[in-house]
Symmetry: C2
């Protein structure tokens, strides 16, 4: 790996880690509040898995930069996070949460399958390790999207409203970072255009089958440097303990 | 099992389930807020396990009564919960949370070991299933109590303060329900006096080794029908979603 590739990989790893950290935190807001006990447990599991993935990506970032994962997770300002806005949006209702999870899980599952072929072995190994969990997540969230999409009139309306709100945010998942083309050329990270096609090939028929209509609204022109008030609130909440006493032994 | 034993077992199962549900909910309040990423993940795991145990105990309760676990978990009033106050107290600081967890984990680990000998096979099987998880919890919380007890002056003081606050609540774990003597005679549930001795035999030397001093304060005269404002607040929070739309398909 040359220096430019290395720098591009560092940026990409941070984006991967931040997506998982922020989504994991949103999932954790449901634990103890889901509508049924089984889902309480499932949300705790999901939060644990996504935070675990974040730790793995921060760990690979650390191998290349020496930067402390806990410092990255808990002591940056909102503008320094590289997550997509899709994962930082507030949890909304159960339909919104499950649909966001489904859209992200499908992306992550397809991404991990491709990452297992990465020319950077630590990345390939990490992706293999996470793959099983992600297939389980995908099964769980897709079952809910289908169940609510085809459920009662009320549940269908909620799911359609969630899709109308979320859809403009999905393109950001496939918007390349400046160094991504270098990574794709070197076989270090998949081509996001191909990933996008694979994602649409799976998601569009699935949504149609759940009787949900993809809205016409254009994609928001977002980069991973753009964030909302919602991220600032989330970080204030998440960082409260770590910042209250940064030198504590804990 | 005769009717009186059956009724006593139903009461005891509800107490077991409620302890796990409320503690699991308290644990979940830390997910996404723990001081370091590794502990974020550990707290999500802990919440998931305790809520999973609650679901198992509610499930055994249902086999005997036909009552719906989700209704029991989410749609009772505070006065109908049968958890000990130890688990309903607010999370406090990290030292308080870890010490409460240690005190409860030790109780649960010793209880589960005895329950594996229960004359009621479903109870014995459930206990065997949970045992491994609980030994892991116990290792985790005891490592923290030791680390903070023997850590800095600040961490030691926090841990000692937590012990001073928590100690008056521990006796309630060993206070029999009205039907417990019937259960013990029939070998359905362990004798709580013996369990208390085993617990003290393990906890007292461990705390001394962590340089923590058990306070002189007398035990609070609590029964599982006494609750605090903290439980009312916790339930208001936990039941918000379920109560907002009890007939929803979700």
């Amino acid at each position: 790996m040359n220096d430019a590739q290395r720098q591009a990989l560092v940026e990409r790893l941070l984006a991967l880690a931040d997506d998982e950290l922020i989504l994991g935190h949103r999932d954790s807001e449901w634990t103890g509040h889901a509508p049924i006990l089984e889902e309480d447990i499932a949300m705790a599991n999901l939060a644990q898995d996504e935070l675990g993935h974040a730790a793995i990506w921060y760990g690979l970032h650390q191998e290349l930069t020496g930067q402390d994962p806990d410092r990255l997770a808990f002591q940056r300002n909102a503008l320094d996070y590289r997550n997509v806005q899709l994962v930082e949006l507030p949890i909304g209702d159960w339909a919104f949460t499950m649909l966001r999870q489904y859209l992200f899980d499908t992306y992550e599952m397809l991404l991990l399958a491709r990452l297992q072929e990465s020319a950077y072995p630590p990345l390939a190994q990490a992706a293999a390790k996470m793959g099983n969990e992600e297939r389980y997540h995908h099964r769980h969230s897709s079952a809910w999207v289908q169940r609510l999409g085809l459920g009662t009139e009320e549940s269908h309306q909620r799911m359609q409203r969630a899709l109308d709100e979320l859809w403009p945010y999905v393109e950001e998942l496939f918007t390349p970072l400046p160094g991504d083309s270098l990574l794709a050329e070197a076989g270090l990270f998949p081509n996001l255009g191909e990933l996008r096609e694979a994602w649409r090939g799976q998601v569009l028929p699935f949504l149609a089958q759940a009787e949900l209509t993809v809205p016409d609204a254009p994609a928001l022109p977002l980069t991973r440097r753009d964030h909302t008030e919602a991220l600032i609130d989330l970080l204030a909440d998440m960082q409260m303990v770590a910042r209250s006493d940064p030198e504590a032994v804990w």
